[in-house]
């Protein structure tokens, strides 16, 4: 980013370090900080994450703190308590119209609306126009949509949706990508050797885990609470694999198996990546989203995560291809460390930096995908606050420019900062 001024030109490691600054061992963080655009993007990202975490305290129809008839309440905290089952909601709590109470003292959130609430007299009011609100405190700062929902409140909760989807789906993608990419890069086609019983046991456990975890439980998954049931199913799968490997370890020790089969890890992973590359992501994502019966943000996160790991896998594979022939890996091998230990304790941590670039760009992409899907109204529940969802309503009433402007701006800024961070990390890795 040549247009953004930099404090100083990049210098060689160790040169011109202002005294009193802590120097990171690799110098990457220092180089990153010199890129002011990237640093500011990181700060904006922290701000967005803050909004996402505290969305309920920033935009809510309930006050944060209030006093009615001599009693003190913390209604938003109480809502959390009721949701988690720690507190009981009494009738007065549910009956209360929080915005029309006679308070002795009250602190409302900065935006005194929640994203679902429709303020019917104020349909399509402009941020600068006349609004039928009791005081400036209840003004719709970014206007409202057709049924009087506050755009600012939807923006705040849309931030939460966008951050949640991008963080969790990229988390899934990172896990899959790191695992498969490092297997492919570190072991190649002939170094992942597994004894016959271990291979057979793992394959059996995998098949059984899918059958018992997902096949048999498909009814439970469909009927019960989705998140818990999915976690249970995944735990069954993982437990099966763990047990299989424990048994395999015991068999190997007991019967002293020496013959082993080489698994062409690199070939398998590369072929999978090639296939995922060949299918246009958007088409696959749309067709996969069409399968969703009960729209839920969880499915969207899972689908994006499962489809978007290839970039990360390629980065880590390329890194480990270099690292695996470095001297310190040889030294570790000579010391008799196991291959897995070398991979996870020594090789992988040193190859992680480039992955950050892939993650940052992946985040930008995920934010875009989530907005795109909710813009088309596919996959996400219609009542959930999402930037794409708000933007979708803009066309039905062209006079309301604010309905189109703000959510788009949200998407644009988020994508831009992720791209800038990605570039910044990329530049700081290569000195």
């Amino acid at each position: 980013m040549s247009i953004f001024k930099r404090k100083k030109k990049q210098t060689q490691d160790g040169a011109e370090i202002p005294s009193g600054h802590r120097v990171h061992s690799s110098g990457g963080w220092r180089r990153f900080c010199k890129n002011r655009a990237a640093l500011w993007s990181l700060r904006i990202l922290c701000f967005l994450l803050f909004i996402a975490v505290f969305a309920d305290f920033i935009a809510n129809d309930k006050p944060i703190y209030c006093r009615i008839e001599g009693q003190t309440y913390f209604p938003i905290l109480k809502a959390y308590g009721i949701k988690s089952g720690l507190a009981k909601g009494d009738e007065a709590y549910f009956r209360r119209e929080w915005q029309n109470e006679a308070y002795e003292a009250v602190i409302f959130p900065p935006i005194a609306y929640n994203p679902q609430q429709s303020d019917t007299p104020n349909s399509y009011v402009s941020p600068f126009g006349k609004q039928a609100v009791p005081s400036w405190r209840f003004r719709h700062w970014m206007g409202t949509d057709g049924i009087g929902r506050d755009i600012a409140a939807m923006m705040v909760h849309g931030t939460r949706t966008a951050m949640l989807v991008s963080v969790i789906s990229m988390g899934i993608a990172t896990l899959i990508g790191l695992l498969l990419g490092s297997l492919a890069g570190f072991f190649g086609d002939d170094r992942l050797r597994v004894s016959t019983p271990r291979l057979l046991l793992n394959l059996t456990a995998l098949a059984a885990g899918i059958f018992y975890g997902f096949g048999v439980r498909s009814f439970a998954i469909g009927e019960g609470a989705l998140a818990t049931e999915l976690i249970k199913s995944t735990s069954i799968l993982i437990a099966g694999l763990l047990i299989a490997n424990l048994i395999a370890g015991w068999i190997e020790k007991r019967f002293k198996f020496s013959d082993s089969i080489a698994i062409p890890a690199d070939m398998l992973v590369n072929r999978t990546i090639e296939i995922l590359y060949a299918i246009p992501t958007l088409v696959l994502l749309l067709s996969a989203a069409a399968l969703i019966q009960k729209p839920s943000i969880l499915y969207i996160m899972a689908i994006i995560g499962v489809l978007r790991w290839t970039g990360i896998a390629r980065y880590i594979r390329a890194e480990l291809l270099k690292i695996r022939s470095l001297e310190y890996v040889e030294a570790a091998r000579a010391m008799g460390l196991s291959e897995w230990r070398i991979l996870f304790r020594h090789a992988l941590p040193n190859g992680l930096a480039p992955v950050l670039v892939a993650i940052a760009f992946g985040m930008a992409n995920t934010v875009l995908l989530e907005a795109f899907l909710s813009f088309l109204g596919i996959g996400l529940p219609p009542e959930s606050a999402s930037w794409g969802n708000v933007l979708q309503n803009a066309r039905s009433y062209p006079q309301a420019w604010w309905v189109a402007l703000f959510p788009g701006l949200g998407i644009f800024i988020t994508i831009t900062i992720f791209n800038l961070i990605g570039e910044g990390v990329g530049e700081s890795i290569v000195p």
Binding site: M1, S2, I3, F211, Y212, G215, V216, S218, F219, E274, I275, Y277, A278, I279, P280, T281, L282, V283, L284, L286, S287, A288, A289, A290, L291, Q293, A318, A364, L368, A371, F372, F375, L376, I378, G388, L391, A394, R395, P398, Q399, W401, A404, L405, P407, G408, I411, F412, I415, T416, N419
Partner: protein, 473 residues
Amino acid sequence: MLRHLLSRLLLFVPMLLVISFIAFGLNQCSPGDPVEAALESSGVMPAAYLREYRQKAAALELDKPPFYFAVTSAAYPDTLYKIIPQRNRETAAALIAQFGNWPEISRYLKQQDIFKAKLESIRKDFGSKDQFNTAFYAIERLPQAYQTVSIQAGLDSIGFALAQQNPALQQVVSPEFEALKQAYQQIFLKQSRWKLYLPAIHWHGSNNRYHRWLASILKGDFGKSLKDGRLVSTKIREAVSWTLTLNITAILLAYLLSVPIGVYSAVHQGSKADRIISTILFGLDSMPNFWMASLLIIFFTTPDYGMDFFRVLGPLSLPSDAGFWERFLSALAEIILPVFCLTYGALAYISRQVRASTITALQQDYIRTARAKGLSSRQVVWKHAFRNALFPLITMFASVFPAALAGSVVIEHIFNIPGMGQLLIKSIQGDDWPVIYTILMLASLLTMVGILIADLLYAVADPRVDLNNKNRN
């Protein structure tokens, strides 16, 4: 070269096979009922509807097993796919998942039909029409009820309606009703949930839906759309001309504009002009095209802001009998905005790449040599630097093209252009799977061909590239 081409083309076969598995698997998992998507009438005359449903299901080959084999619990019968309509099959599967005893469940489901027939035969003798309707409504809904509560509620409401009839009528109908209740009780009493945990493999042979679908695709027959019964190939041919014209125009524009922009800002690297260009390009690169499209539509096609220079393509402006080019030319004024939306993203991306690669090329030694021997800066830039900066342009063509196609999904949706993107979204919203998986396979094939062409062009442009070297990546 030829050997490489052949081996790459051979690799297409297994990859397309895997993609066909994915497409077909997605179709199998889709919640919608294909027969209901295809049938226009929805349950006005129950008996006639069911007959029509059966015919349609047979025409769509839904009476055949889906795949060569199936791995299920031992509790499920291997002929579960034969139960139609689909909703009844889902109920049966849900009941099996709860109780695991298919013989009893099957008896209970059969008893429902028997009781329903009996109930219809005594329609006239019923005390009042309302009472009959209550009972009949309940028995009609029973094949879709799988939760204990809803089944019990259905049985109760039938029992209540029957109890209000005269004793003679009750006498006539009670054996069947008792049998139905008995059959339901049996499901509870003879549960065999252990069967659910036994895996079973059913072999179906080659007379299955996947096999026949793949065979017909190899013959070039992509089937018929469920929605309007038209050939998928016809629908796609109509749509693809719009998409291709728009995208080729957009990509050509993007390439034509981005090369001078990229080279200019690379040559003037660090200048004010370069900074401004880079900022704008970076911004455009991050700008979601559906936001841009929404803004353009709002500000430039509606009279509210006094800037309605353009129109949005409406179905009215398309004379359906006219040829494609005639329609296209008549729609030219409406097409400027979508082409712009398709162009700017590619433009920004390509310009940034051209700038980066030209900068790299300008730092090479041979550029210094060229300058030293007194060539004009124009000759240095265009003859020496640009030629070597061409590489990314070539590879990008392979990635820009599929990306542009994907990007036009939402642009076509927003601007109401009857292209592939709109076809895809409409098919997905309408569960029109024959169209969806044809598009999925075609788009994948296009992408693979694009990647292959990029590799070949790479080798043609640079003799140093060795295609047979396996360790490139």
